[in-house]
């Protein structure tokens, strides 16, 4: 009953406050299918929704609801509209934005999906929604020894949380291995191999929630970059210098007790199954001068493969990472400028580079991306497909006098799907390029003049 009242109040509130938009209950989901992929530590969920407008007014948008435990770990939500039938399907990306709803029940979080064109009464539309959750696998037991396998909990609802009525829905959960310790059964539910199927469930009211826990084995590398600072320094002399500072940890079950090298060396398959040693970074093609080091020097275990489409840097931290262990390191490389810096039609220059973290299958808790513009550049502005914190700072580098403008972009909870291009526009007068050579030339000239003067001036008090 309580839920009903909640919903009623939500409906009323929404209806009263923003009567221009369609209210929640004007839509219903005819059919929903959810596939949750738990094979790595990044949880990916695919929703296929068939939405119908049962109200009288056209609906311009719909809401996606997430329980409070998920909303804080939600790294990304993407939605696509499917048009056309079967083989002629085309996907159109939709605008998705986080939104606040007054009187949201139990701190439910919302995302608003804007349809391409308002959905008329009685019309239906098919949507594909992808959302990505981080830090949603909770290791249990919390501490494991070297020889143990890592078991994790995944909490979710057997039915999709939605502000709309869902007529029919099914949820598939894919686990990395067949080893599933337990899962909450909500009839009808069954498990086959690596897949657990919840549903189909018929006619679930809005805001239905049936918590389930899945306890399963997941030994995939829980590579979490706690902090990543990427600095992209633009030099108009022809190159882009990228420096990436990582603080990497193993985010899985904490390692307890002994680390035995003998076991780790000889019984690699059973010993240290949850640990990881090798990492892969996907770098741009034509990358050069790659280095991999940390505070105390070079790390010699890395291997670079360059290609036309991308370069791959395989590297190992100094030691294998077990649960709770961390490593900090720096990767730096240089790429040719002409691949990434262009001139816009209005005369401004812009850098077109990839956002996100080059490491594959990693979560970045806090990503700071600094674009260091050349000295003398003005009016910087960054263009990104998602919201980030932006600010400006000044950095001094070699032979700088006024300092370089740095565009700082900061985003939390970054996953590999955030590796999309972004642009930084700025104006730059090429005459500034000559400032530093000119300074050096002047300095040398003055040294020579000074020595010339010194040789010819007699500084003796008494004439010899």
């Amino acid at each position: 009953m309580a839920a009903r009242i909640w919903i009623f109040s939500v409906v009323v509130a929404v209806f009263l406050s923003i009567s221009a938009f369609s209210s929640a209950q004007d839509l219903q989901i005819v059919n929903a299918e959810r596939r949750i992929d738990l094979s790595s530590h990044i949880v990916k969920a695919f929703l296929t929704l068939k939405v119908e407008n049962i109200g009288k007014d056209p609906a311009a948008e719909m809401l996606l609801a997430f329980p409070p435990t998920q909303i804080k770990n939600l790294a990304m939500v993407q939605a696509l509209a499917i048009t056309g039938k079967k083989k002629k399907k085309t996907y159109l990306p939709l605008d998705v934005k986080p939104t606040e709803q007054p009187d949201a029940p139990n701190d439910t979080g919302y995302y608003r999906v804007k349809f391409i064109s308002p959905l008329g009464p009685g019309e239906t539309v098919s949507l594909e929604v992808l959302y990505i959750l981080t830090h949603s696998l909770e290791p249990f037991p919390v501490e494991i020894t070297q020889s143990e396998s890592q078991l994790v909990y995944y909490h979710d609802s057997a039915v999709i949380l939605s502000p709309y009525h869902i007529k029919q829905q099914t949820t598939f959960v894919k686990t990395p291995t067949t080893r599933v310790e337990s899962f909450t059964s909500v009839e009808p539910a069954n498990r086959a191999g690596k897949e657990i199927k919840y549903g189909p469930y018929e006619n679930r009211a809005s805001y239905s929630y049936t918590p389930v826990i899945i306890h399963f084995e997941n030994n995939s590398p829980f590579a979490v970059v706690e902090e990543l600072v990427r600095e992209i320094e633009i030099s108009h002399w022809g190159s882009l210098q990228i420096t990436e500072n990582y603080r990497l940890t193993h985010g899985g079950a904490r390692h307890k007790g002994v680390f035995s090298r003998v076991d780790y060396q000889s019984k690699r398959s059973v010993s240290g199954a949850s640990s990881f040693n090798a990492l892969l970074a996907v770098l741009p093609p034509r990358v050069n001068s790659v280095y991999y080091r940390d505070n105390i020097g070079n790390i010699s275990t890395s291997h670079l493969r360059t290609g036309f489409r991308k370069s791959e840097l395989e590297f190992e931290p100094r030691y294998p990472l077990f649960g709770g262990w961390s490593a900090t390191f720096v990767i730096g490389y240089r790429v040719p400028l002409e691949d990434y810096l262009f001139e816009a039609s209005d005369g401004r220059r812009y850098l077109n580079f990839t956002f996100g973290c080059p490491l594959v299958e990693t979560i970045v808790n806090k990503l700071t991306l600094k674009v260091v513009l050349p000295e003398g550049s003005k009016d910087p502005s960054a263009v990104l497909p998602f919201t980030v914190n932006q600010e400006l700072e000044v950095k001094y580098s070699y032979l700088d006098i006024v300092g370089r403008t740095v565009v700082v972009l900061q985003k939390d909870n970054v996953v590999p799907t955030h590796n999309v291009p972004f642009q930084v526009y700025y104006t730059f007068n090429p005459i500034y390029m000559l400032a530093e050579p000119f300074m050096l030339v002047t300095a040398f000239f003055l040294v020579f003049v000074a020595s010339l003067a010194y040789v010819h001036i007699d500084l003796n008090i008494v004439r010899k």
């Binding site: 680390f259 010699s300 100094r318």
Partner: protein, 738 residues
């Protein structure tokens, strides 16, 4: 200043031009800029010096090219850490720094127990570069400090050579010292140690002092005092200066070379140098309180007596009266001095000589009395081979140079002879002091080379002249011209001279080749990263030290205390950023002995010691898998000796079998069950290290280990590096009492 006086000097040096007309034609358009002979010579000299300067720098970069820009060895890591602190926190914080991360639980007052010269130098270079908008990392500055100062040393060597002999000798000295392995061994890039700047300071002080003695100028003496101050701030080896200079003055006094110039030079240098040196907290009042510095004070007083006597002699004008006066004064002066010294020593005001000083004078002293000094490999007496290795042909040129010096005895040559002989003695006592002798050896050898080459070339020149004149005037004039130096009876003199010259150049080129080879092969390895050749000729890198230190840094609690043998203390604090029990500063022998005792006790006894020291982790270095021989098992006897020196329960014979140190089945039971053995060989018995050998085969010692079934009760393996070189154990908390 030096540059100003050059043209006048070089005039006398200048050789005759070939043909002035030729010069006129080649420089016809720059008549005003036409180079005179002395200008040509100057240009040549400066360009040679410039090249030597660059050569000295780049010859030391092998390690950067082969490995990376990194700090080497052990002590440099402490210097690097302190420099980092200095640049981050500023000078006052640095001066007042109490380091609680080392010598737990005692701590160490860093500001008062180090020679700050090196750190301040590097920080100044760093700040200057920052000011000039060169945003370098402090590590790069530290890595390149040593080569930079080596380059500066070549310049000082040039001026020194010029002062004691001539410009030619100066140039040769600069070239010799630029690549001399004895010096390169301590000044390659990354070898960020006190010696890196100290040799420069040492040579500079000596040069300025000799210059002051030669000129009698207060300015040079003042410069020498400041050079001495810099040396005191940089290295404990300043004691060598404060003893050599008075000794030199004493020798001059005895040989009747007392002069006003000497009086001015020594008094100014000693008084100002002493006052300046007192500003260094680590040195403090030692100049007036320690026995090692009393010689200088005595010579200073003797100088005054000499001056007084000189004055009295001048006033009296009566030899008989003066003789009596002399007798009374000298006796009473010696008496007063002796009583003062006796009272000072007896009352404890003047401290007696330290063990380190004794061990310098007497090579056998350390072995019997201070095992901690004797345990360091660079404190061992020098083998002949290492002299040969470090000096190569200089070893033969040195006596020749001495011969030339004795042939032309001046105040300056007496100094270099004394410097050469004393430092060579010390070089024989300790391997590391080869470094101190190197500048002297290079300078004296340079005199030999320069004088020989000069004589030979002048021989050739006179011969030419003789043959030219001889063709016109006949044999009569050749006799006259050759009477100065030549014996005309030798018919193959010219050919002989050419042959000798070729020989000299051959030797010098061998020297250059040898130096390059030694530098690249022996002295350019950072020792923290080990490299080996694989089966297919590829280079294998063992980076285990840094792996372990970085593991400590990242994966242990920040307040964890690490126990290890003192060798690794500096590296653990600098790279691992964790508190250590003992480190390379070895200031507290008892504390080191406690660690030595823990390592050589049974596990439960060691556990009590470790609990009392709050130890959380124990780190041992083990080379059994890779065949790395300077590991803790091979150092173990020193731990036993140092531990046994303080705690008599540890007895060396318990660890030996028939006086032999063994780790295999024949080893003594105490050895097989002591903590160090257990920690090194824990679970090693399960590992096959070499094909065709039984499991548990120790490659560093070439034996199968004696105890393969090692159980640890109070410790557990926390981490072992990929090649097993560093093993870290966690000390378990005590079990609950039932």
């Amino acid at each position: 200043m030096g540059g100003k006086s050059e043209p006048t000097k070089s005039e006398s040096m200048a050789t005759k031009t070939t043909n002035p007309d030729l010069l006129n034609t080649s420089f016809f358009s720059f008549k005003s800029l036409k180079l005179k002979t002395k200008q040509q010579e100057l240009l040549l000299r400066i360009s040679i010096l410039g090249l030597v300067y660059i050569l000295a720098f780049i010859a030391r970069l092998f390690s950067v090219l082969r490995y990376e820009s990194m700090i080497h060895e052990f002590d440099p890591y402490f210097n690097y850490r302190t420099t980092l602190f200095l640049t981050e926190k500023g000078f006052y914080e640095f001066w007042n720094w109490f380091d609680s991360e080392s010598w737990y639980p005692l701590g160490r007052i860093i500001g008062g127990t180090l020679y700050p010269g090196l750190m301040v130098t590097a920080a100044l270079i760093y700040w200057t570069l920052r000011f000039l908008r060169f945003f370098v990392h402090i590590r790069e500055v530290c890595v390149l400090t040593a080569p930079f100062f080596a380059s500066n040393t070549t310049l000082v060597a040039y001026f020194f050579g010029k002062e004691i002999w001539d410009t030619g000798a100066g140039l040769v000295a600069a070239v010799l010292i630029a690549i001399c392995p004895g010096y390169i061994s301590r000044s390659v890039a990354g070898s960020y140690d006190n010696e890196a700047v100290a040799i420069f300071a040492l040579l500079l002080t000596f040069y300025l002092f000799v210059k002051a003695v030669n000129t009698g100028s207060l300015a040079w003496a003042l410069g020498s005092a400041f050079g001495y101050f810099y040396m005191v701030s940089a290295w404990g080896g300043y004691v060598f200066i404060i003893n050599l200079v008075p000794l030199y003055v004493l020798v001059l006094l005895i040989t009747g070379r007392y002069s006003m110039r000497l009086y001015i030079a020594y008094n100014c240098m000693y008084i100002l140098g002493m006052l300046l040196a007192m500003q260094i907290r680590f040195v403090g009042f030692q100049h007036v309180q320690s026995g090692e510095h009393m010689g200088a004070m005595g010579v200073f007083l003797l100088m005054q007596v000499f001056y007084f006597l000189d004055w009295v002699k001048y006033q009296l004008n009566d030899t008989k009266l003066f003789q009596t006066f002399l007798r009374i004064t000298v006796t009473s002066a010696i008496l007063v001095g002796g009583i003062a010294l006796g009272v000072g020593t007896a009352s404890g005001y003047i401290s007696p000589w330290t063990g380190r000083f004794y061990s310098l004078l007497d090579p056998t002293y350390a072995k019997d009395h201070i095992p901690i000094i004797a345990s360091v490999s660079e404190h061992q007496p020098t083998a002949w081979s290492s002299f040969m290795f470090d000096y190569h042909i200089l070893l033969f040129l040195f006596p020749a140079g001495l011969y030339f010096c004795f042939k032309r005895l001046t105040d300056a040559t007496i100094f270099i002879v004394m410097y050469g002989l004393t430092s060579l003695y010390f070089a024989g006592v300790m391997v590391r002091l080869i470094l101190v002798a190197t500048p002297a050896v290079c300078l004296i050898s340079a005199i030999a080379v320069s004088a020989t080459v000069k004589n030979l070339t002048s021989l050739l020149r006179t011969k030419q002249k003789v043959s030219q004149t001889g063709s016109t005037k006949g044999a009569g004039s050749s006799k006259a011209s050759s009477k100065v130096t030549l014996d005309q009876s030798q018919p193959f003199q010219k050919n002989g001279a050419i042959a000798l010259l070729v020989g000299v150049f051959y030797l010098l080129s061998r020297y250059a080749i040898h130096c390059t080879w030694v530098t690249s092969e022996a002295y350019s390895s950072p020792s923290i990263v080990l490299a080996a050749r694989g089966a297919h000729g590829n280079r294998i890198i063992f980076d285990d030290y840094r792996e372990a230190y970085y593991w400590l840094r990242q994966n242990t609690p920040t307040d964890a205390k690490i126990m290890s043998w003192w060798d690794y203390g500096y590296q653990i604090t600098a790279m691992g950023n964790r508190t250590v029990i003992v480190d390379n500063n070895t200031w507290n022998n008892t504390h080191i002995a406690t660690v030595g005792r823990a390592m050589s006790s049974y596990e439960d006894e060691a556990y009590d010691i470790m609990r009392s020291l709050d130890v959380n982790y124990v780190l041992v270095v083990f080379g059994g898998v890779t065949g790395y021989s300077s590991d803790d098992i091979n150092k173990f006897l020193w731990m036993v000796r140092i531990g046994g020196g303080v705690f008599p329960v540890i007895k060396e014979p318990d660890y030996l079998v028939n006086g032999e140190f063994r780790v295999d089945k024949g080893a003594s039971p105490k050895m097989l069950n002591c903590l160090m053995y257990k920690l090194c060989y824990y679970r090693f018995g399960e590992l096959t290290t070499e094909y065709g050998k039984p499991p548990g085969y120790d490659r560093a010692r070439g034996v199968e280990i004696g105890n393969k079934d090692i159980k640890l009760e109070h410790l557990e393996e926390a981490y072992t590096t990929s090649n097993w070189i560093v093993r870290i154990y966690r000390v378990k908390p005590p079990t609950n009492r039932l």
